[in-house]
């Protein structure tokens, strides 16, 4: 350790030639340049536009009239144009910013080329029409159809767009919407699990373009059954096998495997089948016909014969294709399922883990939109066909029947827009009803926006009380961020992608399958049942489909991988040899998570220094690394075949250390690019997260999204409903590599505050912080809140519309002072509560036709804001809204300085409110005259254990004294991406500070030194959006609800503060009856009633006769006056309306 203590020695080590492994950090920015943080969204959307939409069209390309087969339409091509809008018969290009400002949808026309015939035409020659618009598709920003794609910074600036904005979201009616990544159990895979009753089950959720079904095998009392929705009750599995033509018991057992234990386990099922006297395929099918559910039989007109066969063909294991009625593949698939079930019974280790990330698929916006589009496209077509058919029947045929007339654009446009706007995905065809699929992109902070792009919404409903899915899965390593998850009900279910994660999109299957065959995969059709599980040979399973078997699985896998590394097959194809299941899994489906890793040969990285140099010089890109086989993507399954080292170490390490490792270096196959990439974007902001207690990092992930700062370079020209900006945002003194990668250093969310960790004044208990008034005077924590107010100039059905009129300003004391000559408040004016924003008049009659003179009444729209605050009209935007009405938007700006009660937090989950604001002269000061900006109580540390914050303070202090930004990336010490405490301390001492960061401090009040050294230095503090001004509320008297005459509820309605049930209980227990009386009646809704002592009902007071009267007894003799809560009187009357008579019995008090 002498080296670190001694400065000269450490200099020597620094000057020595770098022996350590190649610094691979530069790969990260290169990766993010090509893949980006939201690339998965964009990729999947691009895939939809370029490929999926064409497939959907091909599958539904023909429309034929029911009555005249010659009358038909065929789609020949479909394509999406650039976003545009039809404006008064001209087409105008749309830009995203225009859409945001004018509440439009950023959508592009979907155009088709069609061939169609017209009715009553002699020749019936198909006509060709190109570029028919069938609807408008909301376009994802920065996708290949977006105007922003491929633009550089200057061009983006021209379009009003922030270059740091990641894109990947939609703009629907002016609001930015993200389609969240949806987590799902993978489709078409066998999952062995136990159900709620503890039975072993094997289930397959099949999903093809035509059908979706779920096939479940389960063991009940040693016998195996099949459960399928189409059958009313579980079917013995052997019956199914028989029905598929496996009539011989021996063959079935052979197919499952020769191990005698399998035979034993299958015996009860075989016996059951025999006891049912089912021996042949015919018998089995008859048996099954009897078990078909009523819903199914009803559809085919109660003919039961042949139904079972159809179900077996189409529904049972729907993902296994059947060629010309050949059940063989399905038999093999079923037997593999059986075999895996048996394995699970014999060895509990072979159960599948539903929470294992390899068994999950992430559904991205492209897939979700394609689901919607498919449904809408089909509906539109059938609707068009329906119209045509009807027209064919009824039409007088004056005009020729024309398909084009019946294709309604609105269908797709509105359907897509509505779904994305509301987040409700309702696809009846697939029985899909999902809520909350899309979310408003949070623009509170830049990080918040990025965070919602990487968020993964869970498959389970949040109420389930299971811990499994919530727990951190080891297979999440490097794929999903271990820190970033919300607290509370969605804890652990909602996840976030890690920094380097990529989500795959579908890839062509055909070429891969034939490639597998040519690499020696034997086709199943050629194999006997016996050969299927021959020892030493592995089944090759491609995307859940059994392709065949291979005798040398390792060689096969190596060959495939070699092809992948040389770029012959897609880089995201995964090859996974499962030794336990004797299977090779090849996957090319979409939705798998994967990440790039450096390939190593016997522990030696393939990336050499010269590669990195080429990267730095810009002659090599990340894709070149992929192409040259230096880096590859591994998905979660394939990771199991890899041995991944965190760091590459030199081979000439000491032998003693070599022995210490329990793995041989030569068996290492991959090396991580950088260890801090296991964290996501939000957790990447935290300096030294690996020194913190883990929940603190989770808290910070949630809080970073509420911190205000900059949200984009275009923040001042945006028109969000609510926008919080920091006046003087800074970049953190203690940065991390992630911060630089995502651009947080350019769009910061906080300020570097000099913090003294000490107790002061007692106003700092419970995490409160004491702030320096002079710092606040100089602009610390100052923020701008911008709110949008919209006024619409309404037009009415009778052709009248609102009028906006110039006002008579001169009137003294009027609230029209800020109006401009056009009757609209002028930008730059100070606006106070109740000031008029728009001097608007509405016509009194909005229903009937009015001839000339329209009678108007005043309807000024007034500003409602905090009393006594200086709010300013920042901008006024006039635009037309979606209904072509004039909408006037006011952006009202309010600059706030921090006040007592505002919430602040450091980057370590340490939130606290401002407890008091103290004059600078009362603040302690150091020997160098440094006065802290805020004081934090040291009690915040012991229980939170945020050591990272302490190191941040030290590093920040060293940073300001030596003038270099210090780093604190996660796990960065070995690779030099985080400064070591030892080095920081050395820097501190060099600049005359104590190595521990503690300073000699004088009290500002007494002037004497404090009796302790104070830990003081800069820490990056975030101002959170929770501010007292938005929350404080009190009322003496105010508005009441009409119905009950009780005070209104809630701050927004200036409501009363409720004396609730529990408070009432306290008062009862205390015996303060008059207090209860006052609170519950006098201060709430007192009401005087006339009660008839005779009948006990409520009477009334006739003010003309000055007498009370009971309308029941028809006299006024026995009337007493008393006070009731109005709600009580209301209850009586409501009861009376239901024929219940409440009677009051009055006695003398």
């Amino acid at each position: 350790m002498g080296a670190e203590d001694d400065p000269s020695a450490s200099l020597k080590t620094l000057a020595a030639p770098v022996k350590s492994a190649v610094d691979k950090f530069q790969l990260l920015p290169a990766f993010l340049k090509v893949r980006g943080l939201v690339k998965q969204h964009i990729d999947s959307f691009n895939y939809f536009i370029n490929h999926d939409i064409k497939k959907i069209m091909k599958a539904n390309d023909r429309l034929v009239c029911r009555y005249d087969p010659d009358l038909c339409l065929r789609y020949t091509n479909i394509y999406v144009e650039e976003p545009s809008v039809d404006m008064d018969f001209s087409v105008e290009k749309l830009t995203p910013h225009l859409c945001r400002l004018s509440d439009r949808t950023y959508a592009a026309p979907i155009k088709v080329d069609i061939e169609y015939t017209k009715g009553n035409q002699a020749n019936k020659k198909p006509e060709i029409k190109r570029g028919l618009v069938i609807g408008r598709l909301p376009i994802m920003l920065r996708s290949c159809r977006c105007v922003l794609s491929g633009k550089d910074e200057a061009e983006l600036a021209k379009l009003g767009e922030c270059p740091l904005d990641p894109g990947g979201y939609f703009i629907v009616k002016g609001t930015e919407k993200v389609i969240l990544i949806q987590e799902q159990l993978s489709k078409n895979r066998i999952i062995i699990d136990t159900d709620s009753k503890g039975r072993v089950t094997a289930s397959v959720t099949s999903s093809t373009h035509e059908t979706k079904s779920k096939t479940v095998f389960f063991i009940d009392k040693d016998k195996i059954y099949l459960q399928l929705n189409q059958f009313i009750k579980p079917i013995p599995i052997m019956v199914i096998m028989r029905a598929m033509g496996m009539e011989s018991d021996q063959e079935i057992v052979q197919m499952v495997g020769r191990d005698p234990r399998y035979g034993t386990l299958l015996l009860p099922s075989l016996q059951e089948c025999a006891s049912e006297r089912i021996y042949t395929q015919q018998q089995a099918l008859e048996y099954l016909d009897g078990k078909v559910g009523s819903a199914n039989s009803a559809r085919s007109g109660n003919r039961k014969e042949g139904l079972a066969r159809a179900i077996l063909l189409d529904v049972f294991l729907a993902n296994v294709p059947v060629n010309q009625g050949n059940f063989r593949p399905k038999c093999i698939y079923a037997s593999v399922m059986l075999r895996r079930m048996m394995d699970a019974i014999l060895n509990a280790d072979t159960f599948d883990d539903k929470d294992y990330v390899g068994n999950k698929r992430l559904e991205l916006s492209g897939q979700l939109i394609s689901l919607l589009f498919e449904d809408l496209f089909k509906s539109m077509n059938s609707f068009a066909l329906e119209l045509l058919n009807r027209a064919y029947e009824h039409a007088s045929r004056s005009s020729p029947l024309d398909f084009v007339h019946y294709i309604k654009q609105d269908y797709i446009t509105n359907g897509l827009e509505k779904s994305i706007a509301t987040g409700n995905w309702d696809v009846k065809r697939f029985k899909m009803h999902r809520k909350g699929v899309s979310q408003v992109l949070s623009r509170l902070s830049f990080i918040g926006a990025l965070g919602s792009m990487t968020r993964i919404s869970p498959q389970f409903e949040k109420t389930r009380k299971v811990s499994g899915p919530r727990a951190l899965q080891p297979s999440q390593w490097g794929m999903l961020c271990p820190c970033d998850t919300p607290e509370g009900e969605a804890c652990g279910l909602t996840k976030n992608l890690a920094l380097m994660t990529h989500v795959t999109t579908d890839e062509e299957e055909g070429p891969l399958i034939s490639l597998c065959h040519s690499l020696g995969v034997q086709d199943l059709a050629l194999l006997s049942a016996e050969e299927l599980h021959a020892p030493g040979s592995f089944l090759v399973i491609f995307n859940g489909l059994i392709l065949g078997k291979h005798r040398q699985p390792q060689r096969f896998a190596n060959a495939m991988r070699k092809l992948r590394r040389s770029g012959k097959i897609g880089e995201f194809v995964s090859i996974f040899v499962n030794e336990k299941q004797h299977c090779v899994y090849v996957a090319s489906d979409g939705g798998r998570v994967c990440r790039p890793l450096v390939i190593a040969d016997k522990g030696i990285s393939r990336i050499k220094e010269h590669h990195m140099k080429e990267l730095r010089d810009g002659v090599r890109s990340f894709d070149d690394f992929l192409r040259d086989g230096l880096v590859e993507y591994l998905d979660v399954n394939e990771e199991n075949n890899a041995l991944i080292a965190l760091y590459e170490y030199e081979n000439d390490k000491d032998d003693s250390e070599k022995e210490k490792d329990d793995v041989k270096r030569s068996s290492i196959t991959h090396i991580e690019i950088e260890p801090f990439t296991i964290l996501g974007v939000c957790a990447g902001l935290i300096p030294y997260p690996h020194h913190n207690q883990s929940p603190r990092n989770t808290y910070q992930c949630a809080m970073g999204k509420q911190a205000m700062g900059n949200i984009g370079y275009n923040q001042l020209s945006r028109a969000d409903t609510l926008l919080y900006l920091l006046v003087y945002p800074q970049r953190p003194l203690l940065t991390t590599k992630t911060i630089e990668l995502v651009g947080y250093d350019k769009l910061g969310g906080g300020q570097n505050a000099t913090v003294a960790v000490m107790s002061y004044s007692g106003y700092d208990i419970e995490d409160a912080i004491v702030m320096n008034k002079s710092s606040l005077d100089r602009g610390f924590g100052r923020c701008i809140a911008m709110k949008k107010y919209t006024v619409v100039k309404e037009t009415y059905s009778n052709g009248t519309s609102d009028a906006i009129v110039r006002s008579n300003k001169e009137k003294v004391g009027s609230n029209m002072q800020i109006l401009d000559d056009d009757g609209i408040a002028a930008p730059g004016e100070i606006v106070r509560n109740h000031d008029v924003l728009v001097n608007k008049f509405t016509p009194r009659n909005t229903r009937d036709r009015v001839s000339r003179d329209i009678d108007y009444k005043e309807a000024p729209s007034k500003y409602k804001g905090p009393e006594g605050e200086t709010t300013v009209i920042d901008r006024v935007i006039l635009s037309s809204d979606t209904n072509d009405k004039l909408s006037i938007k006011f952006i009202v700006r309010h600059t706030r300085r921090p006040e007592v009660g505002d919430k602040f937090s450091s980057r370590h989950g340490q939130k606290g409110v401002c407890g008091t604001i103290v004059q600078q002269e009362d603040f302690p000061f150091s020997e160098r005259g440094i006065c802290p900006d805020l004081i934090m109580n040291p009690h915040g540390f012991p229980s939170r254990m945020t050591i990272g914050k302490m190191i941040e303070l030290l590093g920040g202090k060293a940073g300001v004294s030596c003038g270099r930004f210090h780093y604190g990336s996660a796990f960065g010490e070995p690779s030099g991406h985080a400064d070591k405490v030892e080095d920081i301390s050395y820097t501190l001492v060099k600049h005359g500070f104590s190595y521990s960061g503690k300073d000699f401090i004088y009290s500002g009040i007494t002037g004497y030194p404090l009796q302790a050294y104070i830990f003081m230095g800069p820490i990056y503090y975030q101002k959170l959006k929770h501010m007292v001004l938005d929350k404080m509320h009190a009322r003496a008297k105010g508005p009441r609800v009409m119905l009950t005459r009780q005070p209104t509820e809630g701050r927004s309605r200036d409501g009363g503060l409720r004396l609730g049930e529990m408070e009432r209980d306290c008062l009862i227990a205390y015996g303060a009856s008059m207090m209860i009386f006052e609170r519950l009646m006098l201060s709430s809704d007192p009401y005087q009633v006339q009660v008839c002592r005779q009948c006990g009902l409520l009477g009334y007071y006739n003010h003309k006769l000055k007498a009370a009267f009971c309308s029941m007894c028809k006299n006024g003799d026995n009337i007493s006056t008393m006070k009731l809560p109005y709600a009580c009187k209301l209850l009586f009357q409501e009861l009376q309306s239901m024929n219940v008579v409440p009677r009051l019995k009055l006695t003398e008090a």
């Binding site: 006046v727 005259g929 190595y995 007494t1006 009796q1011 302790a1012």
Partner: protein
């Protein structure tokens, strides 16, 4: 140790404090873990039993009190204040920060502002600019006063960036002093009335002898106020008034003012040879030096105790018993960094005057 009866013990010498008490009274000892004896012993009779009078006498104060100016530049001063209690030194510091008045921009009348900076933020930035105006020549603008030449300075900023030109930076030198007061006219209450400006100057400020020689400009010419893009413009008038730092930090005449107690580094034992070398190397500000004792012997000495920053590197670990870091309780190294309106030495005398005033007020209230 043989037992000795208390009666036989030698008397404590009267009229003189034993060494350890003297140390406690006059020095803060900075131990490795925490400083001790930080407070002064205030009570006059604290050492009465030893015949030592601990009271503070005016004559002795006058005799012992000393000020030595170490460094004096245009806007920075370091001086030693010796023979005074920390409470008084602190009072000067506090007054300097919060109670010595200066002039600062308080009201900004925006005529036009199309820059990206919001009006309030621009006004806030203007307020923080130090002005080169002697506040002693001005009066406070009281609530009912109208702004006149004795209490208000008016500045004007009128900049615009040419369309099609490059972006420009607005710096403080573009704020122009208007000696004749505001040029903006208030909206007349009625048509017939003569338009009035926002200030009522009876004469031009540059005709007044105090200001004619020294125009009321900015202290620094290169403070960035705003940046303008092509086509943007700012036109405003800024009114500066007199105020104190307690109300807003913009009126604070100092960047900061602080003191530290005179460091005293004591070698409790002789440190020789290699240890001495090591000790010298440890200190980042070279407090220690090596004295050659001849015949190859080396001894560590304390050469520059004043430079000690109290990093405690010298007492970390092995040397804790050998070196003692102390602070002299009645010797203050006082630093004033002036923000510009007044030179630091004047600021200090102003602070003394304010303290005097306060004392006078207390005395007159009491009597």
């Amino acid at each position: 140790m043989p037992r000795v009866s208390a009666l036989d013990m030698p008397d404590v010498p009267m009229g003189q404090l034993p060494e350890h008490l003297q140390l406690q009274r006059t020095r803060v000892v900075c131990k490795a873990d925490a400083p001790i004896h930080t407070e002064a012993i205030q009570y006059s009779g604290a050492y009465a039993s030893m015949g030592v009078d601990n009271s503070l006498r005016l004559e002795s104060f006058c005799k012992n009190f000393k000020i030595e100016v170490i460094r004096l530049t245009e806007d920075e001063m370091e001086f030693d204040m010796i023979g005074i209690d920390a409470s008084l030194a602190n009072a000067f510091r506090r007054i300097l920060i919060a109670e010595v008045p200066t002039m600062a921009i308080e009201k900004v009348l925006m005529v036009n502002n199309t820059s990206v900076i919001a009006d309030e933020v621009l006004a806030h930035r203007l307020g923080l600019i130090p002005l080169n105006a002697d506040p002693r020549l001005f009066e406070y603008l009281l609530e009912n006063d109208s702004p006149n030449e004795r209490n208000t300075i008016v500045y004007k900023l009128d900049v615009s960036c040419r369309k099609g030109g490059p972006r420009m930076t607005v710096k403080s030198d573009q704020l122009k002093w208007l000696p004749n007061g505001s040029e903006l006219e208030m909206e007349p209450p009625n048509q017939s009335a003569k338009p009035k400006s926002y200030t009522s100057f009876s004469c031009s400020q540059d005709s007044m002898p105090e200001f004619s020689k020294k125009p009321l400009g900015m202290k620094h010419e290169d403070i960035i106020i705003a940046k303008l893009g092509p086509g943007q413009a700012i036109e405003l008038e800024a009114h500066a008034v007199k105020g104190i730092g307690k109300v807003h930090a913009k009126w604070s005449p100092v960047s900061t003012a602080w003191y530290r107690m005179l460091p005293e580094v004591v070698l409790l034992k002789d440190i020789k040879g290699d240890d001495a070398e090591k000790l010298v190397k440890k200190c980042p500000v070279n407090v220690f030096d090596i004295e050659d004792l001849g015949n190859g012997e080396k001894k560590a000495t304390v050469s520059k105790p004043r430079a000690c920053t109290l990093c405690r590197e010298c007492i970390r670990g092995v040397n804790e018993e050998l070196v003692e870091l102390r602070r002299v309780k009645d010797h203050f190294i006082f630093t004033i960094e002036s923000a510009g309106a007044l030179p630091p030495e004047v600021l200090f005398t102003e602070a003394v005057k304010i303290l005097e005033d306060k004392c006078d007020r207390v005395i007159s209230e009491l009597s």
